[in-house]
Symmetry: C2
């Protein structure tokens, strides 16, 4: 429970009120003077003077903007419908967390960060899915932003959430950590990879570790999960036991993979060890903290 | 471990050999006389005389077919590259498991079922994603079928895997089960729903149970997962404890929700109880079996 409560991008205070999404009359009724519009500059939030998420009214949205219904905010008493506008321009480049975003994660209130992350994934998906993958015709936003519908072939499209496994592999008290290609010298984290069609979480973990390190793992257990809005991953954090420590590194993906002792991991998490630990808002950091506590 | 080994659609014998996907020369080299083509009629498998998956050669594929590289089969010694052809026509209708498919699940060898499920999800995704969601232009298959690339804006698109939570909720020794709208009279199963952008697995479980039943749950734990190829879900099976048993049923989704005692669940799983249990290849059945063993 303590672990789940320390996961960044979790803990949104908003009621998604999904029963209202498919009810056009109810949705129209929510678009009133009480409704709040999340202030975004493209995909980045505009903060208020207190460093909280900035909010305006629906009148601030461009005339032709597509609006996504995020849910109902009851945090200040009453019931405020919350919306976000889809950016006019999509951008298909990979969306990694950049320095500006890491700074935001470090300062934004927990609930605000979760609300922003969900809104970001959703508006970004709309901006990059204005056409029908089935027939190529334009699509339009439907069900309060939880669907797009093709105007021509009527195909229905839904926001993506891509499951990614991220895993610790342990062997005789040491932890396998890797440095991806292009990462700064000394930065190590848990290995990770997308769950593919046709495999369980446990199979994805075992495949990914074997592909990247050449090591077979067993006894995969689930630890915790995190929504990661760059652009829209569900990070599924796991632990596993390695059968041996003989590394065969996949050099197309990884610059280095190494085994670290508990003492080395603990020192690095304190900023005083042999590697640079993942930032506190990444689930890899939660997993390593969990492992240190488990093995204390 | 016994639980994971009883999950249907898991346990594919194939090596996905993902390192070969991004290597056009290696892929071309695999398309030789040893390569096998999965025999499909649309999305349904063509079985051989032993009731196993039928295989042909690449010469059986239409001249202009898009081919997906499934991986390497080493089950008979040697190393056979396995492919499947994308159906010419996509179909955007929801892909539920139909009676023909349930029959297939009951008879197909475990490894064959897993291999077929993965191939089905993948070829189905290609057939329904021939256009770019970003700009509407045609896309082409890339990386051995693990990507599509837009010929115009160059956007890269990847096969979908949609995480779905499916959960048991327990209160004072009784289990909450539901009958969805349109399900046969007497058929009950675990509640389920898609994980949405901006939430953890645990949050999705709690939201889904509350939306459908009005009951708050706590202490969510992960039990097992299953790839479900209709069209491409990752079923994430969980257990939770309900705070109370006062039901407020969402009648837009559910026909009935009821609480069943351990004895009622056990009898129904034996085919002799108050409800019709989910079929053995659905993870709901594994979850209920797990719960019976846990509470034995």
């Amino acid at each position: 429970m303590a672990l789940n409560q320390s996961i960044a991008f979790a803990g949104s205070p908003i009621d998604r009120a999904d029963n209202l999404r498919a009810d056009p009359a109810a949705l129209a009724g929510l678009m009133n003077w009480k409704a709040r519009l999340l202030k975004l500059d493209g995909l980045m939030p505009e903060l208020d003077e207190q460093g909280r998420l900035g909010w305006g009214t629906l009148a601030d949205a461009p005339e032709d903007a597509e609006l996504v219904f995020l849910g109902l905010d009851r945090s200040e008493g009453g019931e405020k419908p919350c919306f976000a506008a889809v950016p006019a321009e999509g951008d298909s480049r990979p969306r990694m967390a950049n320095p500006q975003l890491w700074a935001l994660m470090a300062t934004l209130d927990r609930g605000d960060l979760a609300l922003y992350g969900g809104a970001r994934s959703l508006t970004d998906w709309h901006a990059r899915h204005r056409f029908c993958a089935q027939c190529g015709a334009p699509t339009h936003l439907a069900k309060g932003g939880w669907q797009r519908t093709c105007g021509t072939c009527k195909a229905e499209h839904f926001p993506r959430t891509d499951p990614v496994t991220i895993m610790l592999a342990e062997f005789e008290g040491r932890l396998m950590l890797g440095r991806g290609k292009g990462w700064p010298e000394g930065a190590f984290s848990a290995l990770a990879g997308f769950v593919e069609p046709g495999e369980t979480i446990e199979e994805a973990v075992a495949r990914e570790v074997f592909e990247e390190s050449g090591v077979r793992v067993r006894d995969v257990t689930y630890v915790a999960s995190q929504p990661w809005p760059f652009p829209s991953q569900l990070m599924i954090g796991c632990h596993s036991h390695a059968n041996n420590d003989a590394l065969t590194i996949d050099e197309t993906e990884m610059a280095e993979i190494r085994w670290f002792t508990r003492e080395e991991v603990a020192a690095s998490m304190e900023g005083d060890g042999p590697f640079r630990a993942p930032p506190p808002h990444a689930i890899a950091c939660n997993l390593m903290q969990w492992w240190l506590e488990k093995t204390a």
